[in-house]
Protein backbone atom coordinates (compact mmCIF):
# COMPACT_ATOMS: atom_id res chain seq x y z
CA UNK A 1 0.00 0.00 0.00
CA UNK A 2 2.81 2.36 0.94
CA UNK A 3 4.65 1.73 -2.30
CA UNK A 4 1.39 2.29 -4.21
CA UNK A 5 1.03 5.68 -2.48
CA UNK A 6 4.64 6.49 -3.29
CA UNK A 7 4.02 5.62 -6.92
CA UNK A 8 0.95 7.88 -6.96
CA UNK A 9 3.02 10.71 -5.49
CA UNK A 10 5.61 10.21 -8.20
CA UNK A 11 2.98 10.58 -10.92
CA UNK A 12 1.39 13.71 -9.47
CA UNK A 13 2.32 16.62 -11.64
CA UNK A 14 1.11 20.04 -10.72
CA UNK A 15 0.69 22.76 -13.31
CA UNK A 16 1.20 26.46 -12.93
CA UNK A 17 0.69 29.70 -14.82
CA UNK A 18 3.09 32.59 -14.19
CA UNK A 19 1.45 35.93 -14.95
CA UNK A 20 4.01 38.74 -14.93
CA UNK A 21 4.96 41.48 -17.38
CA UNK A 22 8.52 41.50 -16.05
CA UNK A 23 10.72 39.16 -18.11
CA UNK A 24 13.28 38.68 -15.34
CA UNK A 25 10.68 37.69 -12.78
CA UNK A 26 8.85 35.44 -15.21
CA UNK A 27 12.05 33.61 -16.09
CA UNK A 28 13.06 33.17 -12.45
CA UNK A 29 9.64 31.99 -11.29
CA UNK A 30 9.35 29.58 -14.20
CA UNK A 31 12.76 28.13 -13.45
CA UNK A 32 11.83 27.68 -9.79
CA UNK A 33 8.77 25.76 -10.91
CA UNK A 34 10.82 23.71 -13.42
CA UNK A 35 13.21 22.73 -10.65
CA UNK A 36 10.39 21.31 -8.53
CA UNK A 37 8.91 19.58 -11.59
CA UNK A 38 5.83 21.78 -11.86
CA UNK A 39 4.83 22.02 -15.49
CA UNK A 40 4.38 25.70 -16.22
CA UNK A 41 3.60 28.42 -18.71
CA UNK A 42 4.29 32.15 -18.61
CA UNK A 43 2.15 35.02 -19.87
CA UNK A 44 2.83 38.72 -19.73
CA UNK A 45 -0.41 40.28 -18.53
CA UNK A 46 -3.79 39.59 -17.01
CA UNK A 47 -5.58 39.55 -20.35
CA UNK A 48 -3.38 36.75 -21.64
CA UNK A 49 -4.07 34.84 -18.43
CA UNK A 50 -7.82 35.20 -18.94
CA UNK A 51 -7.56 34.32 -22.66
CA UNK A 52 -5.64 31.14 -21.93
CA UNK A 53 -8.42 30.05 -19.56
CA UNK A 54 -11.04 30.95 -22.16
CA UNK A 55 -9.20 28.51 -24.45
CA UNK A 56 -9.90 25.80 -21.90
CA UNK A 57 -6.53 25.54 -20.16
CA UNK A 58 -6.53 24.97 -16.41
CA UNK A 59 -3.75 25.19 -13.86
CA UNK A 60 -3.36 24.08 -10.27
CA UNK A 61 -1.55 27.30 -9.40
CA UNK A 62 -1.55 30.81 -10.81
CA UNK A 63 1.20 33.19 -9.72
CA UNK A 64 -0.31 36.59 -10.38
CA UNK A 65 1.63 39.84 -10.47
CA UNK A 66 -0.23 43.00 -9.50
CA UNK A 67 1.04 45.76 -11.78
CA UNK A 68 0.70 44.79 -15.42
CA UNK A 69 -0.32 46.67 -18.56
CA UNK A 70 -3.59 45.98 -20.41
CA UNK A 71 -5.12 44.05 -17.49
CA UNK A 72 -3.62 44.15 -14.00
CA UNK A 73 -3.60 41.40 -11.39
CA UNK A 74 -6.70 42.61 -9.57
CA UNK A 75 -8.81 42.78 -12.72
CA UNK A 76 -7.51 39.42 -13.96
CA UNK A 77 -8.17 37.70 -10.63
CA UNK A 78 -11.73 39.05 -10.51
CA UNK A 79 -12.32 37.94 -14.08
CA UNK A 80 -10.97 34.44 -13.48
CA UNK A 81 -13.09 33.99 -10.36
CA UNK A 82 -16.18 35.20 -12.19
CA UNK A 83 -15.43 32.54 -14.83
CA UNK A 84 -15.55 29.94 -12.06
CA UNK A 85 -11.82 29.26 -12.01
CA UNK A 86 -11.07 27.62 -8.68
CA UNK A 87 -7.29 27.33 -9.09
CA UNK A 88 -5.08 28.52 -6.28
CA UNK A 89 -4.25 32.11 -7.19
CA UNK A 90 -1.30 33.58 -5.34
CA UNK A 91 -0.60 37.27 -5.72
CA UNK A 92 3.04 38.32 -5.93
CA UNK A 93 4.09 41.93 -5.97
CA UNK A 94 6.77 44.31 -4.82
CA UNK A 95 4.09 46.71 -3.59
CA UNK A 96 4.08 47.17 0.15
CA UNK A 97 0.99 49.19 1.08
CA UNK A 98 -1.56 47.31 3.15
CA UNK A 99 -4.44 48.89 1.25
CA UNK A 100 -3.21 47.56 -2.10
CA UNK A 101 -2.61 44.08 -0.69
CA UNK A 102 -6.09 44.11 0.84
CA UNK A 103 -7.64 45.13 -2.47
CA UNK A 104 -5.71 42.37 -4.24
CA UNK A 105 -6.84 39.76 -1.70
CA UNK A 106 -10.46 40.90 -2.01
CA UNK A 107 -10.28 40.29 -5.77
CA UNK A 108 -10.12 36.58 -5.00
CA UNK A 109 -6.58 35.58 -4.10
CA UNK A 110 -5.90 32.53 -1.95
CA UNK A 111 -2.64 33.97 -0.73
CA UNK A 112 -0.23 36.83 -1.24
CA UNK A 113 3.55 36.96 -1.15
CA UNK A 114 5.85 39.91 -1.48
CA UNK A 115 8.45 39.67 -4.23
CA UNK A 116 10.94 38.24 -4.57
CA UNK A 117 9.57 34.72 -4.36
CA UNK A 118 12.11 32.25 -3.13
CA UNK A 119 12.27 28.49 -3.00
CA UNK A 120 10.98 28.33 0.59
CA UNK A 121 7.91 30.47 -0.20
CA UNK A 122 7.21 28.46 -3.33
CA UNK A 123 7.45 25.18 -1.41
CA UNK A 124 4.93 26.43 1.15
CA UNK A 125 2.55 27.42 -1.67
CA UNK A 126 2.86 24.00 -3.36
CA UNK A 127 2.38 22.28 -0.02
CA UNK A 128 -0.94 24.13 0.36
CA UNK A 129 -2.09 22.72 -2.98
CA UNK A 130 -0.92 19.20 -2.24
CA UNK A 131 0.53 18.30 1.18
CA UNK A 132 2.27 15.30 -0.37
CA UNK A 133 4.09 17.37 -2.96
Amino acid sequence: MESQNNNQNLTIQLTALVVDDNKVNRKIHQKMLDNVRVKNLGVKNGKEAVDIHCDGRRFDLILMDLDMPIMNGIEATKELRSMGISSMIVGVSSRCTEAEIQKFMEAGLNDYHEKPLNIAKLSSILHMINPNY
Binding site: V24, K27, K31, N35, S94
Partner: protein, 179 residues
Protein backbone atom coordinates in the same frame (compact mmCIF):
# COMPACT_ATOMS: atom_id res chain seq x y z
CA UNK B 1 46.88 19.01 -26.15
CA UNK B 2 49.85 17.04 -24.87
CA UNK B 3 49.44 14.18 -22.45
CA UNK B 4 50.85 14.04 -18.99
CA UNK B 5 52.04 10.95 -17.13
CA UNK B 6 52.09 10.28 -13.44
CA UNK B 7 54.79 7.84 -12.56
CA UNK B 8 56.11 7.16 -9.08
CA UNK B 9 55.09 10.66 -8.07
CA UNK B 10 57.17 12.28 -10.79
CA UNK B 11 55.34 14.60 -13.08
CA UNK B 12 56.48 14.45 -16.64
CA UNK B 13 54.49 17.36 -17.90
CA UNK B 14 54.44 19.09 -21.18
CA UNK B 15 53.17 22.58 -21.78
CA UNK B 16 49.61 23.59 -22.56
CA UNK B 17 48.95 26.31 -25.12
CA UNK B 18 49.06 28.88 -22.30
CA UNK B 19 52.68 28.07 -21.64
CA UNK B 20 51.86 26.80 -18.20
CA UNK B 21 52.53 23.19 -17.27
CA UNK B 22 49.22 21.37 -17.45
CA UNK B 23 49.35 20.26 -13.84
CA UNK B 24 49.36 23.92 -12.71
CA UNK B 25 46.04 24.70 -14.38
CA UNK B 26 44.24 22.87 -11.58
CA UNK B 27 45.82 25.28 -9.11
CA UNK B 28 44.72 28.19 -11.32
CA UNK B 29 41.11 27.02 -11.05
CA UNK B 30 41.36 27.00 -7.26
CA UNK B 31 42.84 30.50 -7.18
CA UNK B 32 40.12 31.79 -9.48
CA UNK B 33 37.48 30.13 -7.32
CA UNK B 34 38.96 31.96 -4.31
CA UNK B 35 38.92 35.26 -6.27
CA UNK B 36 35.28 34.73 -7.16
CA UNK B 37 34.31 34.04 -3.56
CA UNK B 38 36.26 37.05 -2.36
CA UNK B 39 34.47 39.32 -4.84
CA UNK B 40 31.09 37.88 -3.87
CA UNK B 41 31.83 38.34 -0.16
CA UNK B 42 32.85 41.93 -0.88
CA UNK B 43 29.63 42.62 -2.80
CA UNK B 44 27.55 41.14 0.02
CA UNK B 45 29.46 43.11 2.63
CA UNK B 46 28.96 46.34 0.68
CA UNK B 47 25.23 45.63 0.39
CA UNK B 48 25.42 45.57 -3.39
CA UNK B 49 23.98 42.05 -3.44
CA UNK B 50 21.79 40.17 -1.01
CA UNK B 51 20.69 36.60 -0.36
CA UNK B 52 18.39 36.63 -3.39
CA UNK B 53 21.49 36.45 -5.60
CA UNK B 54 22.39 33.16 -3.95
CA UNK B 55 18.85 31.93 -4.62
CA UNK B 56 19.41 32.83 -8.27
CA UNK B 57 22.67 30.88 -8.38
CA UNK B 58 20.98 27.89 -6.78
CA UNK B 59 18.49 27.74 -9.62
CA UNK B 60 21.28 27.06 -12.11
CA UNK B 61 21.75 23.39 -12.86
CA UNK B 62 22.90 21.00 -15.58
CA UNK B 63 19.67 21.53 -17.48
CA UNK B 64 20.28 25.30 -17.51
CA UNK B 65 24.05 25.77 -17.11
CA UNK B 66 23.92 29.43 -18.18
CA UNK B 67 20.80 30.37 -16.28
CA UNK B 68 22.36 33.12 -14.16
CA UNK B 69 24.01 34.86 -17.10
CA UNK B 70 20.79 34.59 -19.15
CA UNK B 71 18.78 36.20 -16.38
CA UNK B 72 21.35 38.93 -15.85
CA UNK B 73 21.56 39.70 -19.56
CA UNK B 74 17.79 40.17 -19.63
CA UNK B 75 18.07 42.32 -16.50
CA UNK B 76 20.76 44.55 -18.02
CA UNK B 77 18.88 44.93 -21.29
CA UNK B 78 15.56 45.77 -19.62
CA UNK B 79 17.12 48.02 -16.97
CA UNK B 80 18.94 50.16 -19.51
CA UNK B 81 15.72 50.76 -21.40
CA UNK B 82 13.97 51.69 -18.16
CA UNK B 83 16.75 54.08 -17.10
CA UNK B 84 16.73 55.83 -20.47
CA UNK B 85 12.96 56.18 -20.29
CA UNK B 86 13.11 57.46 -16.72
CA UNK B 87 15.37 60.32 -17.72
CA UNK B 88 13.02 61.31 -20.53
CA UNK B 89 9.97 61.08 -18.29
CA UNK B 90 11.64 63.18 -15.60
CA UNK B 91 12.32 65.92 -18.15
CA UNK B 92 8.61 65.85 -19.01
CA UNK B 93 7.59 65.61 -15.32
CA UNK B 94 5.55 62.46 -15.98
CA UNK B 95 5.60 61.25 -12.37
CA UNK B 96 2.93 58.56 -12.72
CA UNK B 97 4.69 56.96 -15.67
CA UNK B 98 7.97 57.18 -13.79
CA UNK B 99 6.42 55.25 -10.94
CA UNK B 100 5.40 52.45 -13.33
CA UNK B 101 8.95 52.22 -14.66
CA UNK B 102 10.37 52.24 -11.15
CA UNK B 103 8.09 49.40 -10.08
CA UNK B 104 9.44 47.38 -12.99
CA UNK B 105 13.04 48.14 -12.14
CA UNK B 106 12.47 47.52 -8.47
CA UNK B 107 10.78 44.21 -9.15
CA UNK B 108 13.56 42.82 -11.31
CA UNK B 109 16.36 44.28 -9.17
CA UNK B 110 15.01 42.68 -6.01
CA UNK B 111 14.55 39.37 -7.83
CA UNK B 112 18.24 39.18 -8.75
CA UNK B 113 19.40 40.38 -5.34
CA UNK B 114 20.52 43.86 -6.40
CA UNK B 115 19.97 45.34 -2.97
CA UNK B 116 21.42 48.85 -3.36
CA UNK B 117 19.70 49.40 -6.71
CA UNK B 118 16.40 48.29 -5.14
CA UNK B 119 16.85 50.66 -2.20
CA UNK B 120 17.50 53.62 -4.49
CA UNK B 121 14.37 52.70 -6.47
CA UNK B 122 12.35 52.86 -3.25
CA UNK B 123 13.69 56.35 -2.47
CA UNK B 124 13.12 57.44 -6.06
CA UNK B 125 9.55 56.20 -5.96
CA UNK B 126 8.93 58.21 -2.78
CA UNK B 127 10.22 61.33 -4.57
CA UNK B 128 7.83 60.72 -7.49
CA UNK B 129 4.90 60.43 -5.02
CA UNK B 130 5.77 63.91 -3.77
CA UNK B 131 6.40 65.17 -7.34
CA UNK B 132 9.72 66.38 -5.99
CA UNK B 133 11.67 67.13 -9.16
CA UNK B 134 14.98 67.91 -7.48
CA UNK B 135 14.65 64.79 -5.35
CA UNK B 136 13.84 62.72 -8.43
CA UNK B 137 16.85 64.09 -10.31
CA UNK B 138 19.16 63.27 -7.42
CA UNK B 139 17.63 59.80 -7.09
CA UNK B 140 18.02 59.16 -10.82
CA UNK B 141 21.70 60.06 -10.70
CA UNK B 142 22.19 57.76 -7.73
CA UNK B 143 20.30 55.01 -9.51
CA UNK B 144 22.43 55.32 -12.65
CA UNK B 145 25.57 55.24 -10.52
CA UNK B 146 24.46 52.17 -8.53
CA UNK B 147 23.34 50.36 -11.65
CA UNK B 148 26.68 50.99 -13.42
CA UNK B 149 28.62 49.83 -10.39
CA UNK B 150 26.51 46.67 -10.11
CA UNK B 151 26.89 45.90 -13.81
CA UNK B 152 30.68 46.34 -13.73
CA UNK B 153 31.04 44.12 -10.68
CA UNK B 154 28.81 41.40 -12.10
CA UNK B 155 30.80 41.45 -15.35
CA UNK B 156 33.96 41.08 -13.30
CA UNK B 157 32.39 38.09 -11.56
CA UNK B 158 31.44 36.54 -14.87
CA UNK B 159 34.92 36.98 -16.28
CA UNK B 160 36.45 35.18 -13.31
CA UNK B 161 33.83 32.43 -13.59
CA UNK B 162 34.54 32.01 -17.31
CA UNK B 163 38.29 31.79 -16.71
CA UNK B 164 37.73 29.29 -13.93
CA UNK B 165 35.46 27.16 -16.10
CA UNK B 166 38.04 27.26 -18.90
CA UNK B 167 40.86 26.23 -16.62
CA UNK B 168 38.82 23.62 -14.76
CA UNK B 169 37.76 22.14 -18.07
CA UNK B 170 41.28 20.86 -18.81
CA UNK B 171 41.02 17.10 -18.95
CA UNK B 172 43.73 14.88 -17.62
CA UNK B 173 43.97 11.76 -19.84
CA UNK B 174 44.08 8.31 -18.25
CA UNK B 175 47.32 7.27 -16.66
CA UNK B 176 49.56 5.45 -19.13
CA UNK B 177 48.88 1.77 -18.49
CA UNK B 178 52.32 0.62 -19.58
CA UNK B 179 54.12 2.53 -16.85
Amino acid sequence: MNKIWLSSGVLNSQLAKTGLPLWMLGLGADLLWADMNRLLAFLFHQGVLDEQFLQLQQLQDEASPNFVSEVLNIYFHESEKLLTNLRGLLMEREYKKMEIHLNQLMGSSSSIGAKRVTNVCVAFRAATHHTNRAGCLHALEMLEHEYCYLKNKLHELFQIEQQRALVAGVRYPEQNQNQ
